[in-house]
């Protein structure tokens, strides 16, 4: 005999299964709202940098606005990507494949974030940045 009530047994097992909650949807909503501002800003930042010579690109991304917009867009964007991809994975994959895909999406997202943070930091610290700022 089970002492647990049917309601208790079903609690937390929404349509999306165990571990699912409205927290995921809320997280996507918050990152979407941030990206509503960041996406146009990032497109404009990159569009004005493409075509510049190397020194100018380094100097440009050393400036606060382009650097902060680029960093924010990619950090928030990849976070949004990881969580959004999770829904796709849950829909199309099961068992070990699902777990592997979830892990890979995290690794990929964080690798992109690390690459951008590294690139921005190195450009800011380079001599080319100092020349234009001073």
């Amino acid at each position: 005999m089970r002492y647990i009530t049917p309601r208790k047994a079903a609690k937390g097992l929404g349509a999306a299964g165990p571990g699912a909650s409205t927290a995921h949807h809320w997280g996507m909503t918050v990152s979407s709202a941030a990206l509503l501002i960041l996406t146009p800003a990032f497109i404009l930042v990159v569009a004005s940098a493409i075509g510049l010579p190397h020194d100018a690109v380094v100097a440009y991304f050393s400036r606060p606005y382009p650097a902060i917009v680029t960093a924010l867009f990619l950090v928030v964007g990849m976070h949004h990507y990881i969580n959004g991809t999770r829904i796709m994975i849950d829909d199309y994959l099961d068992h070990a494949e699902r777990k592997v895909a979830i892990i890979l999406s995290h690794l990929f997202g964080w690798a992109v974030i690390a690459a951008v943070v590294y690139a921005l930091a190195r450009m800011m610290l380079s001599p080319a940045a100092v020349v234009v700022v001073s």
């Binding site: 509503l36 497109i43 990159v46 493409i50 075509g51 690109v57 991809t85 590294y118 190195r122």
Partner: protein, 129 residues
């Protein structure tokens, strides 16, 4: 099972022969664009890392980025980004329980399609100027 009279009763729509309504197509496109726009993002990230690395690495990345295939990837990704952007706005409406009727869902779908094309052309215009 063989003795069940099947006759000419209508069957429930079989997914492989079911013509997806425009709202369903624009919904699945949100996923596809979300994945596809990463191609352009990777190109830009590679370009940024190359710029941080040095002039020689930058020359290679910049050459690829500004080749016709690079511009094609960027243009496609910008469209995917704008499409995903507008689809995200539609989700805000859905969460507020708006645009839920069939005619509204159809109209919103066309706004997504033409809006994303319009915003892409606008981006292209800004880039060229």
């Amino acid at each position: 099972m063989g003795d069940i009279p099947r006759g000419n009763r209508p069957l429930s729509p079989h997914l492989s022969v079911y013509r997806l309504p425009i709202a369903a197509i624009t919904s699945i496109m949100t996923r596809i664009t979300g994945q596809a726009l990463v191609a352009g993002l990777l190109l830009v990230v590679w370009w940024l890392v190359a710029a941080a690395t040095g002039p020689r690495a930058f020359a290679t990345a910049d050459w690829v980025l500004r080749s016709w295939i690079g511009y094609l990837v960027l243009l496609g990704s910008v469209w995917a980004l704008w499409y995903h952007f507008l689809a995200g706005i539609r989700h805000f409406f859905y969460d507020a329980r708006l645009l839920m009727t069939k005619p509204e869902a159809r109209q919103a779908s066309w706004v997504l399609i033409w809006g994303s094309v319009g915003l892409t052309l606008l981006t292209l215009l800004l880039f060229v100027i």
